[in-house]
Amino acid sequence: MEKIRVVTDSGADIPENLVQELGIRVVPLTIHFGAEERQDGVDLSPEEFYRRLAAGEMSHTSQPSPAQFETAYRELVEEGAEVIISCHLSSTLSGTMQSAQLAARAVDVPVRVVDTRSASRRVGLVAIEAARPARAGEPVSAIVQRLESIIARQRVLFMVDTLEYLQRNGRIGKAQAFVGGLLNIKPILTLEDGVVAPLERARGRARAVARLFERMAQTAAGKLRVAVMHSQADQEAAGLAERIRSRFDVAEVITGLLGPTIGTHVGPGTLGVVYHSV
């Protein structure tokens, strides 16, 4: 039986308890506030990050270097890993995949680098789906094959409080069409082939949350694995998770905060849901 370990990046937004439990290795992206550089989750907590955004500071991100990945992979090999599965932010959104692929060539064990074509909890769910069977001893080829199928089935819906952050960081994609507007409008978005795409708009947060749920109800079927993520919208996230638990047959609902990596791009007040049939 091969010993498999899973690596992801800080854009996956996996809750700390699951990281510990499943032995997932998270490589941080760098968050810049002007000239100041911090490592997401290492020396920058979400709390501090959002406090600084609220104070008007602006952040941007940079991908981990190949050396950071190489270090992570080598450490896992020293811990006995024989195969590594590395699941990352979409190559259309970040250069993280690029660094991981370069590092993969530099280590002696096989590293399977998986492009999730997504972000945040979608990456996280994929990494979790890799880590669980890996601990159970499934062969790596079967795991990677299943990950591809999950990536194809996954849906993401999210609302942002403002499009300003996506626009400022150049990640707005096709949602450019929703920029502007004199009304108090909350855009509802998705990721299409790894690019942000518009779905609809709602007037006010309450309607936006209701529409997120209604849209999910239109497309979700069967037993679901769900992640609800948010940036400083704890109550709305808890309410949405509760509605999802009572409306759908769910295997699991993971709720948690969007970390600084994704938070940089979507800003505070974002609420989203990722789901796929089990």
Partner: protein, 556 residues
């Protein structure tokens, strides 16, 4: 002297007489409004529609009845304003169809064509309602056919038609309870009676009055065009046999385009001149013998797009099919998108709101000035998308929008989302996604518009017992779904009263859009009261700038 046969020249006179009769009686028809609100415009719409039909008839004395009927039909289809104008245009279209290729007809031929007119109008309306103009048209054509069967001549057939129309009109309140409650007959039906009376005068040889005056307002036909000279010169022009053979149409794209100057330069080239648009994009339509000169004038002002020159003698055969060569032009707005939007709206605030939500083309108009089908076609064709959604934002613009959808050039699919107010349009735009799949986006826009509840607050100009609530002149009334549902002595009182009915526990957002006669302070004071009474809702206030309605309220 009474005429025995309806010829092309006589039919042109019939249209002139019908238009003049509607023009003379338009205020009487406008006043037949089921709401005690000064916004009835059925008479104006019908007069403008028939004027447009008349102007299109051309002045060639050699034209057969078939030629003139086709031209009138085409003019009416494009010039149609308001639901009544659209239905009237469908009567004229059916009439032309019934005439077919005949040079002229007698009483029996007239009766047959009237029957066809009625059938076509019924078919054009998705859900025909009795007690409307359709009933009156049917009364006219049924009576005409009974008379023709008895061997009546042209004048007698038309006399029977007028009598049948009047009888049917008198019955409209029995068929439509809302008319009975308001104590009026159907306005469109009254208009049709007036039109037929005018037609009868012409056929009797009694019509000597001035033909319709040129269009008021923003529209567009150069009043100096030979086609619209007063009636006493009408004969003279006919004898000059001025024919303009080429229907020439094009768009001019540029900056700061002077519509009036372009119009002035083109007016001597021919007739039926139409110059519409905005400073960036102007549509030109002219009948001329010198299309090259018209194009040359256009190029001096900007870049030409969608040029179309057609020979109208050929065109008469397919008058209803207008080929504009209107492939959506990606250059018109830089980029071709998947779905674009046209909205009809009145009030600067609304225009800004809708433009900010992504509406491509705004057509000015609404309750008190319905746009013609032609204006909507121009707007549709200026949208850089192959799929275009039209938001009529008024019940009385819905038919014209559907007609425009059919008349718009090939290469476009037009969807009418039947919004009743601009507040519906705001809701519809929430589901708009310019790059989405039209099969999802259009139904989504429809559903989104249905999810909001809308009330319009306005002032009654007369007392009315038509509703459950008695209305005195000067009262402010709240209209919801075509019913008076609340009354107050101030606009704000009426607004609060209707909100008590509409905004329940499930409401999350109340929007207040105030009109052009309301001060921002008054609107803010109202919003303050709404916030106090509906603490669980978000409350938003915007200046819509709409006329007539002090407030438009939406609850979602």
């Amino acid at each position: 002297m009474a005429h025995r046969r309806l010829s092309g020249a006589l039919f042109r006179e019939v249209m002139a007489a019908g238009a003049a009769a509607l023009e003379r009686h338009k205020e009487e028809i406008n006043a037949l409004n089921v709401f005690p609100v000064p916004d009835g415009d059925t008479g104006t719409n019908m007069a403008l529609t028939v004027s447009a039909a008349f102007r299109e008839t051309g002045s060639d004395p050699q034209f057969s009845l078939a030629d003139v009927a086709q031209r009138a039909s085409r003019g009416a289809l494009f010039g149609a304003r308001g639901n009544s104008g659209v239905i009237l245009s469908q009567f004229l279209r059916g009439f032309a169809h019934g005439i077919g290729r005949q040079e002229s007809v007698d009483g029996r031929g007239l009766a047959a064509a009237l029957a066809q007119a009625t059938a076509t109008a019924y078919r054009a309306v998705i859900k025909p309602v009795e007690g409307t103009m359709l009933t009156v048209g049917k009364g006219a054509s049924d009576a005409a056919n009974r008379a023709a069967l008895g061997g009546a001549d042209l004048v007698e057939v038309l006399e029977a038609a007028v009598e049948g129309a009047r009888e049917a009109l008198a019955k409209t309140p029995k068929l439509l309870p809302i008319l009975a409650r308001a104590g009026v007959v159907d306005a469109g039906g009254q208009g049709l009676v007036r039109f037929l009376e005018g037609a009868l005068a012409a056929v009797r040889g009694e019509y000597r009055q001035a033909p319709p005056s040129p269009l008021p307002g923003k529209a567009i036909l150069a009043s100096e065009a030979p086609g619209s000279k007063p009636a006493d010169q009408f004969g003279a022009i006919a004898h000059e046999a001025v024919t303009f053979r080429y229907c020439t149409e094009f768009l001019v794209r540029g900056r700061h385009l002077p519509i009036e100057s372009i119009k002035a330069e083109l007016k001597d080239l021919g007739d039926s001149l139409l110059v519409v648009g905005d400073p960036e994009l102007v549509k030109v339509h002219v009948h001329t013998n010198n299309p090259g000169r018209a194009l040359e004038i256009g190029t001096r002002y900007g870049e030409l797009l969608n040029v179309s020159v057609s020979n109208m003698q050929e065109q008469n055969r397919h008058a209803a099919q207008r080929a504009l060569g209107a492939e959506p032009n990606p250059a018109a707005n830089g980029q071709l998108k998947r779905i674009g939007v046209v909205a009809v709206v009145q009030g600067e605030g609304w225009q800004q709101l809708l433009a900010s939500l992504g509406v491509d083309q705004l057509v000015s108009g609404g309750q008190t000035m319905n746009p013609s089908a032609a204006e909507l076609v121009t707007a549709i064709e200026a949208v850089p998308a192959k799929e275009v959604v039209v938001l009529p934002n008024n019940r009385n613009v819905v038919f014209a929008a559907r007609q425009a959808a059919e008349l718009a050039g090939p290469g476009r699919r037009v969807h009418v989302v039947a919004t009743r107010t601009a507040a519906d349009a705001v809701a519809a735009m929430m589901a708009y996604n310019p790059e989405g799949d039209p099969e999802d986006v259009v139904p989504g826009m429809e559903e989104s518009a249905k999810r909001v509840r809308i009330a319009e607050i306005t002032r009654a100009v007369r007392e009315s017992q038509a509703w459950e609530l008695p209305v005195q002149a000067g009262d402010f009334i709240a209209i919801v779904d075509g019913e008076v549902r609340a009354v107050g002595s101030t606009a704000e009182q009426a607004a609060l009263a209707i909100l008590r009915e509409m905004a329940g526990e499930d409401a999350t957002l109340i929007s207040v859009y105030y009109g052009d006669k309301v001060t921002p302070d008054a609107a803010k004071a109202l919003a303050h009261q709404v916030r106090e009474n509906w603490a669980h809702c978000e409350v938003e206030v915007y200046g819509g700038g709409q006329p007539v309605y002090a407030y438009v309220l939406s609850v979602e």
